[in-house]
């Protein structure tokens, strides 16, 4: 009886350990691709990790601000088990635990009194590359569910389908390959745009956008 108690305890700890990664970027269940941290695969972000929008002029409020190509992601995915390496790439929004969960984090006390707090579906993102491999390539999208950890797929889980590079026809490429040899399929540019309108409360706000590369079965 004591023995089975230990087993149950181990299983609970195991469950908790798995749930620690319950954010959208969770551990894969297979190991068909090389590791991107200690292995030969690479997930590179060649641009700064900060994107700033400063609305200090009426013209910027009227027309919005677009930061083009502010993030550039480059992938090199090597396979370990031939024919089985597949991956997905996604982004998800994070308001750093701010409440309510559908609003941007307020960094300082707002400048003014009037207006509403900005919500997570305010930021627009556009992902594209030379071959148009991302889902909704070249189109500004929003996190329409307007909740923390809302996900936008860049290369979705194709549920067993593996697309190899080289066609450059807009197919979602998810097999092994490299930005060094197939730049237009393993490089991703991201534009950001904010159209604040006139109903938001003046202040400084922050969110985080996470890009997650993970192997899929």
């Amino acid at each position: 009886m004591k023995f089975y108690g230990k087993i149950i305890l181990l299983l609970i700890v195991n469950l908790l350990a798995v749930n620690t990664f319950s954010q959208p970027c969770s551990n894969p269940t297979t190991s068909n691709c090389a590791d991107a941290i200690a292995g030969t695969s690479k997930f590179l972000m060649s641009t700064p990790g900060n994107v700033n929008f400063t609305f200090d002029d009426m013209q910027k409020y009227v027309s919005g601000i677009t930061n083009s190509g502010s993030t550039q992601l480059r992938l090199k995915v090597d396979e370990i088990i031939a024919g089985n390496c597949k991956w997905k790439l996604m982004m998800y929004i994070d308001n750093n635990g701010y409440l309510p969960t559908n609003e941007w984090e307020q960094v300082i006390t707002p400048y003014g009194l009037s207006g509403n707090n900005p919500e997570l579906n305010l930021i627009q993102v556009k992902v594209y590359n030379g071959c148009g491999t991302p889902l909704s390539s070249g189109i500004f999208q929003t996190f329409t569910n307007n909740v923390n950890y809302d996900i936008l797929d860049i290369i979705p889980d194709l549920l067993g389908v593996r697309n190899m590079p080289g066609s450059c026809d807009g197919t979602n490429i998810n097999g092994p390959g490299s930005y060094l040899t197939n730049y237009n399929e393993y490089n991703f540019n991201i534009d950001y745009r904010i159209l604040p309108g006139y109903a938001l409360k003046s202040g400084v706000y922050q969110i985080k956008i996470n890009f997650c590369l993970v192997e899929v079965p």
């Binding site: 551990n27 190991s31 900060n50 994107v51 009227v62 009037s114 922050q206």
Partner: protein, 250 residues
């Protein structure tokens, strides 16, 4: 058997921490600095002159139609008010007197409220009746509503008026319909035949009357500030300052 089960359980535990798999994450922090922007464009002259050199102008007054055009752009909710001010905040500054005789009925302290304003469009986000949207009253009206169009005046022009004072747009307080929403004359679409809520034309009138007592002058509470005959306005050159203040709704 028990040992095998225990080993399998341990393996399962460590598998949760395995790093030999393709998973990696990059992060971008997005910072948005929304600074309050309030812009008031006045495209018309900043000088409005009234020269009374004909008797008809005394009894009929002088009106300057659309002498001031105001265009508003604001990223926050806003109020707009006009305030007349001078050295003492209550009467016009006399720059020169044409009178050479000392007559106790010749008054040089002319109330700021003798300047009348008329705005297009009416205040859409304030309390009814506390703006300048009423038409100028006829010069020969038997019993004028004194102060109906008189400019709000104050010695502290940057202190926002009370809710019982006139606003061009908005009012004191932040309640519903006490301030106009953010927007711009550049993008606001007006109703047919009207201006938008971000575009105003201002007419000015001075009606001295005969004798020159300024019968329309009065406070926001419609209390007359007209001179009382046999008093009359001392001939001379007078100036005052009309300020248009755009501020966040408060």
């Amino acid at each position: 058997m028990k040992k095998i089960i225990l080993i399998v359980s341990f393996l399962g535990f460590f598998s949760a921490f395995s790093f030999g798999q393709l998973i990696d994450e990059k992060n971008v922090t997005v910072t948005m600095d929304l600074q309050p922007v309030l812009q008031l464009h006045m495209t018309t002259s900043d000088q409005v002159d009234f020269v009374f050199d004909d008797i008809r102008e005394y009894y009929g007054g002088i009106i300057k139609y659309a002498a001031t055009i105001l265009k508003v752009s604001s990223s926050v909710s806003w109020d707009l008010y006009a305030v007349g001010t001078s050295q003492n905040g209550t009467t016009w500054d006399q720059q020169m007197s044409y009178s050479t005789v000392v007559n106790p009925n010749s008054v040089s302290a002319l109330p700021l409220s003798l300047l009348e304003l008329h705005q297009y469009e009416a205040n859409a986000f304030g309390l009814a009746g506390f703006d300048y949207s009423e038409l100028f009253q006829a010069a020969n009206v038997a019993i004028p509503v004194t102060g109906q169009n008189s400019i709000y005046n104050s010695a502290t022009p940057y202190t926002a008026p009370l809710a019982t004072d006139k606003y061009i747009q908005g009012s004191a307080g932040t309640g519903l319909l006490l301030g106009a929403p953010g927007g711009s004359y550049l993008t606001a679409v007006p109703a047919a035949g009207a201006f938008s809520n971000y575009y105003f034309t201002i007419d000015y009138r001075i009606l001295p009357g005969l004798p020159a007592t300024f019968p329309m002058a009065g406070t926001s509470a419609l209390v007359s500030e007209a001179l009382v005959p046999p008093q009359y306005a001392e001939p001379g050159v007078y100036t005052m300052n009309a300020k248009y203040i755009l501020l966040e709704d408060q």
